[in-house]
Structures are given as structure tokens and as C-alpha cells.
Symmetry: C2
Subunit: 522 residues, 2 copies
């Protein structure tokens, strides 16, 4: 047995009681916090970024974006955009350079109620947050290991679950309510379920622009009264105004136009798929994604100069053996990180699709794909890692158990983002000198007690027991362990953050399809 | 349903047959290769590295390393090292600066037989390889989900398995042969099992210096005859000459001395454990790890100036709630990457312990911890990611199934390391222009066919099917899928790279405890 083996098989007891006294469970970690800065991983060189930028401007000037609506043309042609011989909307280079120089570099998304202020998100270059989103059509059933159509109750349940998960900072509509087929009823009920379930900031998608005004009434009721929402917006509006390659999708373009006019933030989520709706070489997909994203940034800024907008280039990967989308590959992790680097190059707030594992169950593949895509995007300095919690099956499903697991992953990633503080105190040269000479270990040292809470994240779901202990305790894997956390939260935490008065008003004014019975225990 | 959801739920068929014709399975990926350069992730600033360097030199000058043997004192005191008032071996700052300036920045570890040349490893700054090692005491049994004492047959089986796994570049003694208790019989039988099982380069540990000369005879027989091994060494000698904090361990120090004299490469594997055998602040553990590692680099270079040696600072993490070693945390990923950055700061070939998950089974925790520690070390530019394949249970066990899974992980990591090539061709501006205007997709484009093999890694174990297909196929997780790969290789691949003549000679000269019967099918 080597020295290494000998030492790792032995537990050290020195100072254990003192450490146990310091350590209390079920408190938010002191070692991490929301919005830690990333940016220490740079997949692209400065020269690469300049070339991608030049290629994107060339595409916007020559190829442009197809299927512009008359409405958008009326808004942007007078400001310097042009239409080319193919009827496509083009942006001259000088116009783009000018718009980028004046685009907003930051904005806030506010938390509500008792979270107001302390859980606000500061969206700007490099500050990293984990955000739920997805609009998957199925929910994973852990008991049967199968996917069933997702429901409005699922939206409420996912939201109240994430309300108790400290490391996921933003709620979102991770699934569609397939049991509410009518568009208006769906969107109002979805908003209700999410606002009732958590006061964290949200990223939400709408089916049509017609719902925005009523949504704002509903947001006002959640925020304390008329006009309150626009004072401190608590929502980013998700959507994909682009249908790759380089065409507009009408519904989301209209939402972009309306939110830009109101100064609300639109998450563009531009997803060209390499080898299918964009070039097979990753550089080409990146150039196209940047061009597509910048076209939306330009439209928002032409409509309302300086309005905040998210650089949401979300390049996707195709498995070219089958032509199908794959969200968990090394290629995906790499190109997402590079897209983030481009957004930071423009000094714009960013978001990217992350954790889009192709696995159907929280297994080793799930962990490998999630951690790789999370880690590279976060270290590239993504402002928001979207599609974060619970997503699996190439974005086709969402899982309660996975969301709990991803919350643990977020804690690990955040600790790596924080990095290593180097100071005279942390370098510990004198402590090393003393402990090396006598007693030959650091467990009972005052410095160890001092740093144990602030230097380390203590996970609740990651197994660190001895193999014997694990075997005797029933050989559970992380998926099994996550089920009891889900059960514990979902059987105890039934929030309704509207409060009874506003809830009455919401239910009287809007067709809320979430029965009151599902919002309480039993 | 959003545009994103609509698009991802649809499979595209354009050009599928052409792509199927290009794609052939069971070939090494053209998109990755051994030794891709890392180094794009820099957890430490230049100023941080200078401060850590200064702290380490201060520790070496003042505190020094305890328990030096008379032999090492006789070798290094005449060359400028000194003993302090505590009887500890110290290295004056000027001496260290001088030794570091002249230390070897590269070496080769050679493959044998039909792999010679093409599978040699070039060990130098930033070039990334994945290397097995571990000396775990148990082997994971997938059928019973339990750990049993590891055996000599396991060593042969792990080696012939990795012989067929393209992305793991170096074999090693991942487990101990607990069924061969006598030291000499153990080491000779272990060497035999590994050299018989693969011609890839190896990293091997010995129990005592007395075994090295006989080992070299055995290596010669594996390499084609007397003197062949020293011409093209195919082995790195693993071990931990340091017992943290800052003491020598006699057995491995003796191996360092002997290998240095012969110009063979020693992997130092210095594992201070934060909060237990080194300070709780990560910066302090890093400073101590650097000091401890540099002390060994100094000794090797004082004995044999310019002899190649590995900067193997392997800082470990303690869960301070229990005092036990934990190998899979965010803190572990971060400090390992920082240790690598320090090795690259010194322009020395590096290695680091990686993938030391605390999980007992290949589950979501396994994947998260492996991918995070792999990814950050590789992107920090680790030359060798050690303890790579199959290790689990905080290094207490090794698993065949995990080794197959880690091979897939290595492919993903390598693809991210390779990065994005940016050129006029890959930027694809003209292809984008043509495809955007007509037909609106890229699947049948000649460029897509041209790049599909060279741009993408196609995994064999990562599930990318539709959820329906996955359910109908039996809802397998990655662990279950990996079992059939293991079965397939282990029931078919029974190499003995000694060949029958050398094998006779080996078995007549050394006490080889591996029966011939286990080296063939049936």
C-alpha cells in the first residue's frame, strides 16, 4: 500500500468536535454567493474574436435576415437599416458599429417581496447566475422512469421546488402546461403558477404579443399594485425571434418589438444548429449565431436606443449521423463558451443554453454532460446559464430530481468560479511553519476553524461516506437520494406569494386554471 | 410550443444517406488526438502566481522538509542545500531559483511494439494526456454493486480493457493485487500483468527501491531485449516522496534518488490535504504543495542536473465536517487546476490527480465530479491527468464500467481542448449566404459532408435517442450500457504482448503469480 493509499484510508479526528460545533446544517453556504464573476476561461484568442466579429458584420451587411415584417421595416428602415435584392433586412457595418458602441451593458431583474433587493440579479458582463427555463413538453416520472405530458401543476411544483434551492437564482417556465391548450389561458395560468410559487426573478416566454399587457397587470398584482412592475421589473421575456438560418419568426419578433418599446428586457435565444441550420464548422456556426443575435440587438436599439437586451447566442449542435439535435456534447460546451466570450467582447449582458444533456435519466452521462457545459459556460463568464435546472432528454423533458441535483452542481461550479484568494493571511506561511514542526497536522488549528465555513461548500446530496458505510446504507445513487429531497420540499412547501387579497383579484380577472386545492398540503 | 421546442423535436433528413455513407463506426475519432494543448483556463493571475512562488521559496528556505535520510543529506548538502535548527532539509532561495532555471522542460514516455512512435507521450507544458493510476485496494462489482478486494487478475483485466480504449493514453496500476501479499512477488507480477496487457506507456508504483533493477530486466524483456528499456523508457515511476506537512517518506524518497541517478522519470504525487495536513485556506495548501513538490524537483536536479522530473503537486481536499478526504468537490477541481498553472509557471511537465470522485457508483454525482475535475485540470493545461480511468469511492476502488465511461468523457474533454479553428474556410461566410437564401438548411451541403468527421466526436456510450426510443429500448442508464462494452472487450481481448518466447523467459526468471489460464478466453 502506498503512502497515498494509507493516508486516504484513514480518517483524522483532531479538532473534530470543535469543527462540528462551528458547522450548522441547512444554512446557505458562506463560501459562495450569486453573481460571482467568471471569465478566466477564454476559448477564443483576441484575433479569433475580431475575425468572427468581422464575419458577422459582413453577413449582416450582405446576406441580412429574411422574412422581415412590414412593421419591423417601418421601424428600422428610417433609422439606417436597408433591404437587399432578396428582400432581406440588412444592417450596414457603420450602423452596427454605432449601435454596439451605445448598447446597454447592464440591467437589473428584481426579486419581489421578502427577497426584494437581496436576490435581485445584476445582469452584466461576467457575473454568473443560474436560471431555469426550457418550455419542455414532458415531465420525467422518477417512479416509472418515463416521460408524461407536462401540466400546469408541474409548473407550480417546479417553481416551489426551486424556491427552496439556494443556488438556482431565476425561475422560469421549464415545461409547458399541455393540459391548458388555449393560448391565453395557458400564458396567464403559467404566469400565475410561477409568481405564486416563488419571488425570485423570472424568465418567461409568451405565445403572442397580445398577452403582454394583461401579463403586466398580473405582474403588478404580484408586485404590490399598479405600476409597481415597470418600476422594478422582475421578469425577462424569453423567445427566439430568429429562425435559423437568418430568418425572422413573426411571433417572437413582435414580442421583441413590444418589449423594446417599453424598455423591458428580451432574451433572444438564437439557436442555430451546426450542420443543420448553420455551417458544420463550429467557427461558421458561431459567426452566424453572432450575426443573428446582433440583428436582434440592432432592432431593439433602433426602436429604443440604449434599451437593455441580452446577447443570447445559443448555438446548438447536431449529431450528423442522424441529423438530430444534441445538447450535451463537448462541441456544445465549447461553442457555448465561445458564444459567451463574443457577448463579453461586445460588453453586452449574455445568456446561453446550458445543461442540455441528452441523457434521459440522472445518470453518469447526465452528470458528465451537465458539468462540462455548465463549467465551460460559467468560466467563460456567462451572465445567465439558462435551461439550467432539471432539463434532460435534449430539452424534451424536465425532472424534479434533476433540478435538485443541478442545484448541487451549481454550488460546485460557483466555488470554482470564486477562485483562490491569495493574501498574506491565506498563504499561511507561519501557520505552515508551526504545524509542520509540531503537531504535524492542521485539524485542530484555529485557522482551520476560522476558514471552514467560508472556504468550503458543504453539499447535502453528494455522497462522501466510506464505501462500507455506503453499502450498508443501501447502495443508493444520487438519483435515489435526490428523490427524498424532492419529496420533502414538495410535501411541505406550498407558497402563494400573491397573498389572499391579490389572489382573489387575480382569479377574478384572469382565467387561472390552477385549482386552489393543488396549492396546499394533503 | 415555442420555435425552439418545435425545432428541436423535429429530425432533419436532408443528406442523411450521404452522411451515413461517410460515417463508419469503430474507427478512432479524426476530431481529436493525444496531446492536444490546454492552458486557456487560468484560475490564478500572474500576481497570484508570483506570490505563491515567493511563499513556497520562503517555506523551503525557512521551514524545510523533515525526516531527511542520511543518504539524501550526503547527496544534496555538498551541492548547497542546508539543514536548519530543527534538523530539517532547507533549500536557499538562490539555489532553488538556479535549479528551476535549469530543470528539464520535457521528456518522452515511449509506447512499445506496434504502438512505438505513434503512441509515445510528449510530456511538456500544456500538452494534455489521460493516464491511469490509483493503487486502489478494491474493485467494484457491477453485478452486486459492492466492493471486493482487488486482485492481480484485476490488474491484467483493467489493462487489457484500457488497451482497447482509445482516449486513455497511459496504463497504470489502478489497483493493488491484494491476493499477492509478498512485496517482491507483488511488484513483479503487477509489472508483468500490465506489460502483457498493453503496449501503451505506463505509470507504475513500486514498494521499494530494491525492485527497480529487476523491474528493468523485466521491462527489457517487454521491449525487445537487454538495454532496450533505457534507450526508450516506457514507464514513469509513481510515488509520494513527501508525507505532508513537509516530511520525507523514506521508501519513495529512495525511489526518487535511484530514478534520478538513472535519468528515469519520477512522478512525485505530493498530496497535502487541505485543513488536515496543510492549511484550510486553499492558497496556503497550494503554497505548501508547491514547496513540497519543488523540494523533490530540487533533490532530483541536485543528484542529476537536468534529469526529467514531473511537477506533481496533487493538493487534496478534506471535508472538515468529518475530517475525511474528498476528491470530487469544486474546491478539488479548482485547486488542482491552480496547481497545474503553477507547474506551467515553472515550465515543468505536470501531472495531477483527477476524476477522484467520492461517488461509489457511476451515477450523476460521478459524472458531475469527474467532468468538473477533468475539465478544469485539462483546460488549465495539465500534461497528465492521473487517477483518470475507473477510479471511484474517493480513490478506494476501481471499476471496469467506470473506465469505459471515463474514456467517453476523455473524448468530450479533448474536443473542448482542441477549440475552434477560425479561418476563411471555417467561418463559411459564402456558404451561409448561399444556404440562407436557398434551401434554408445545411444538411445536404458539401461542406457539411466535408467537416462531419473532422469537426465532431461521435460517442458510442452517450445516449442521443428520442425519449420514446429510450423508453422502448429498456430505459437503460449509462452504467448499464457500459457493462456490455466491458463484457465485449473482456471476453474477446486477451493480449500477451510479451510473445511466447519472452513470456517463457519472464516466467522462468520472476515469480509471476498471474496464471496463464486467465490470459485466454474460456
Amino acid at each position: 500500500m502506498t503512502e497515498l493509499t494509507k493516508r486516504r484510508s484513514r480518517r483524522r479526528a483532531g479538532g473534530r468536535e470543535a469543527r462540528a460545533a462551528v458547522r450548522t446544517s441547512n444554512v446557505a453556504s458562506q463560501a459562495i454567493w450569486p453573481g460571482i464573476s467568471g471569465g478566466r476561461y477564454k476559448p477564443l484568442s483576441d484575433a479569433d474574436m475580431s475575425r468572427i466579429h468581422e464575419a458577422a458584420l459582413g453577413i449582416l451587411e450582405r446576406t441580412g435576415v429574411g422574412d422581415p415584417t412590414q412593421e419591423v421595416l417601418d421601424l428600422v428602415l428610417p433609422k439606417g437599416a436597408v433591404v437587399n435584392e432578396h428582400g432581406r433586412l440588412c444592417f450596414p457595418r457603420a450602423l452596427m458599429e454605432d449601435l454596439l458602441a451605445r448598447a446597454a451593458s447592464e440591467f437589473y431583474v428584481h426579486a419581489r417581496g421578502s427577497r426584494a433587493g437581496k436576490d435581485d440579479m445584476h445582469c452584466t458582463k461576467d457575473k454568473v447566475y443560474y436560471a431555469n427555463s426550457g418550455t419542455a413538453v414532458t415531465t420525467f416520472d422518477a417512479e416509472t422512469r418515463s416521460y408524461r405530458p407536462s401540466t400546469l401543476k408541474d409548473i407550480y411544483d417546479f417553481t416551489r421546488l426551486v424556491d427552496r434551492l439556494d443556488n438556482i437564482h431565476m425561475t422560469g417556465d421549464t415545461v409547458l402546461a399541455t393540459d391548458v391548450p388555449q393560448d391565453y389561458e395557458h400564458d396567464m395560468s403559467m404566469l400565475y403558477a410561477i409568481l405564486a410559487g416563488s419571488e425570485k426573478p423570472s424568465c418567461l416566454t409568451f405565445r403572442t404579443r397580445e398577452h403582454i399587457q394583461d401579463a403586466i397587470h398580473l405582474f403588478d398584482l404580484a408586485s404590490g399594485g399598479e405600476g409597481k412592475f415597470l418600476e422594478k421589473p422582475s421578469v425577462i421575456f424569453g423567445g427566439c425571434p430568429i429562425v435559423s438560418p437568418l430568418r425572422f419568426g413573426r411571433e417572437n419578433l413582435e414580442i421583441l418589438i413590444d418589449t423594446a418599446k417599453m424598455g423591458l428586457v428580451c432574451d433572444l435565444a438564437v439557436p442555430p444548429q451546426a450542420g443543420a441550420t448553420s455551417p458544420a464548422p463550429l467557427a461558421g456556426t458561431l459567426a452566424q449565431a453572432v450575426a443573428e443575435t446582433l440583428s436582434c440587438v440592432a432592432i431593439a436599439n433602433l426602436i429604443n436606443p440604449g434599451t437593455p437586451v441580452v446577447f443570447a447566442a445559443w448555438p446548438f449542435i447536431t449529431d450528423l449521423r442522424t441529423g438530430s439535435f444534441t445538447g450535451g456534447s463537448g462541441e456544445q460546451a465549447l461553442i457555448s463558451a465561445a458564444a459567451i466570450q463574443m457577448g463579453n467582447f461586445y460588453n453586452l449582458p449574455t445568456s446561453v443554453g446550458c445543461g442540455m444533456t441528452d441523457s434521459k435519466i440522472p445518470d453518469a452521462q447526465y452528470g458528465l454532460e451537465k458539468a462540462l457545459t455548465f463549467a465551460l459556460a460559467a468560466h467563460a463568464g456567462a451572465n445567465r446559464l439558462c435551461e439550467f435546472g432539471g432539463m434532460l432528454g435534449s430539452l424534451m423533458g424536465c425532472s424534479f430530481e434533476s433540478m435538485v441535483i443541478d442545484n448541487e452542481a451549481a454550488g460546485m461550479i460557483s466555488r470554482t468560479l470564486r477562485g483562490i484568494e491569495v493574501s498574506d493571511d491565506t498563504l499561511s506561511v507561519d501557520v505552515i511553519h508551526e504545524c509542520a514542526i509540531d503537531p504535524g497536522h492542521f485539524l485542530g488549528n484555529a485557522q482551520t476553524l476560522q476558514y471552514m465555513e467560508t472556504e468550503y461548500v458543504y453539499p447535502s446530496l453528494l455522497d462522501r461516506e466510506l464505501t462500507d458505510t455506503w453499502e450498508k446504507a443501501g447502495r443508493q445513487d444520487m438519483f435515489e437520494r435526490s428523490r427524498s429531497v424532492v419529496d420533502d420540499i414538495l410535501s411541505n412547501h406550498y407558497p402563494n406569494y400573491f397573498g389572499s387579497k391579490a389572489d382573489e383579484e387575480v382569479r377574478s380577472r384572469f382565467p387561472i386554471k390552477l385549482p386552489r386545492e393543488v396549492m396546499r398540503a394533503g
